[in-house]
Amino acid sequence: MRMKKLVSLLALVAVLALGVAGTSAQDPVELSLWYHGAGNDAERSVLVSIIEDFNASQSDYVVTLEEFPQESYNESVTAAGLSGDLPDIIDVDGPVMPNWAWSGFLQPLEIDETLLENYLPGALGYWNGDLYSVGLWDAAKAIFARQSVLEANGIRIPTLDEPWTLEEFDAALVTLQETGEYDFAFDPGMAWTGEWYPYAFSPFLQSFGGDLIDRETYMGAEGVLNGEEAIAFGEWWQSLYDRDLAPGTSQDGADRETGFIDGRYAIQWNGNWAALGALDAFGDDMLFLPAPDFGSGSVIGAASWQFGVAATSENPEGANAFIEFALQDQYLADFSVATGLIPATTTAANLTENYAEGGPLSVFFQLSAEQGLIRPPTPGYVVMALEFEKAMADIANGADVIDSLDAAVDAIEDDIEANSGYGF
């Protein structure tokens, strides 16, 4: 009696186990993907269509999507990294990637590099010689202006080959401010706190000849972020606010969005994602101009959101397969159409109306290809970004330029030291 029970129990267990084994052999492996686009329908629909296509294209893997709002995405990933429950595929902001790679969140990609030959350099995330992430697009910034406004004030329209110089740009701002028609001549976008500051303003610093860190060693910022060039930049930066040429840190987000379109700001420093709205408002009058050359060439920030594979993923082959699949020109073009971002390849650009040669936004593709400079690819960038943001805000608010830059240098170097050089 008892024996019988035991046997039947064993049999049941065996059946169950077989059943489980049987189903797992047939069922595709689930790959989780985290994305920063919660609340952004346009991006979601393109990404969902890529995932659906991928899931239909093969039977080994099924990708499932989890979306997070961009505002707090990095915190969510850090918390997950701390507690060891990262997904298989992570969406990562280009400049943050080295930090996550160094922290052991990411593993190097293993995808066919021939697929990447045609790529904008800013869309490829290299650190320590390995490719860790790759993006389907890049973003670029330009000076937004209206042809009629510049012409009416006798201001030369700059070109990619001959951008404004510091003197020209500054004089243009003064002229525009003196018309009295604008609240401010120039809107650099101080309302967008956070990583926008280093993304948008460190290129000015670099164009002056300074930088966030010594890119030879990645060990120090002394003489680079607080050298003569950087101090010159800081003083000019402060003068923008002293002379009321630009709205300061208290600008609210709404003014940032509507100020240029409503004609309250004469020119604006903005990204290509805002270009479609400006084109709608001003049509042919709208100009997208290259950044001024403050002495060391025009520079804009490169690298946007990219995909990487989590170090803890149990199925890196699948994760890599998905990323490879997503790199098709058609998807790059779809994303660009949906979001206004720059497709990462020329072939994809030609599939879109805006970025195809002669298209209204094709200037951004050139800007990105010719002037794009990635933010320092080091794990320490996260702290650099915060310190630079603080320095820019403080200087704009009247703090001593040299002291502010010195403080940023000290904090950055302390951080590098505390992290034993971040592996450099």
Binding site: A38, G39, Q70, S72, A79, L82, D85, A254, T258, A274
Partner: protein, 298 residues
Amino acid sequence: MTAKTITDEQRQRNEKLDIIGRYALLIVVALIFVLPILFMIMSSFKPDDQLLRDTSSLRAFLPVGDLSLDNYDGAFDRVPLGRFIFNSVFVTLTTLGLSLIFNSMAGFAFAVLKWRGRNIILTIVIATFIIPFETIAIPLLLIVNQLPWIGLNGFEVGWLNSYHVQIIPWIADSLSIFLFYQYFRDLPYELVEAAKIDGAGFFRIYSRVFMPISGPVIATVAILKFLAMWNQFLWPLLVVRTEELRPVMLGVDYFFQLNVAWGEVMAYLSTITIPVLIFYLVLQRAFIESVASTGIKG
């Protein structure tokens, strides 16, 4: 005779003026409190461009211009609001219920019962009231990640991405314990003596004698706890991974894309504030009638 009627009339007039003056003052002060909230609600019905234009004039507080429910449509499309509200209500009310039981029991133990270690433990409890949550969030995350749980999937380690991780750490809280302690301490001890003579045990005294006459402190703790739980942000951000488990405050970030849809933000903020207002209105009588009795006897 005449003189007296005049003074009567004058006095009546003065009284009227006095009353008008009092109301005028009450109304002016009320405006200060209500205008920012009115701005939020009115803005939620306006298209973005009008909303932003109106902020430069008093029109911001008025239901004027192009009014519609479009922002609410947009906000509900962007965020799975029903789900988020359910999560917040579930987490908030569960925590609240457990919190009232656990903390009142502890308050009773500290206030009424004599046991060794009582004073030293009470002192520690009160001291922990000082610790701001932001400063212990990361160690707490690491702790809950190591805790065992037996759930539908059997035994597992780690509490992340669940309802219970949003609930259990918040049940006990030192302020609630302290409020219960103060209230119970000042209830007449004869209540205990009388119940003892009737043969009641201490737990019975707590549940049948003390709790039924503790409406005011229960209401106070309930409102404080409800507000704290409903407004949770940092903790769910750290411990919740999937959208199905997110509470309402995490939804606010959904709106801060590069181009913020301010009208939708206002619609969302108005929507998530309403349940709290309702909860307050339900409890306010009991609450106001004596936050007091906990307060004055401090």
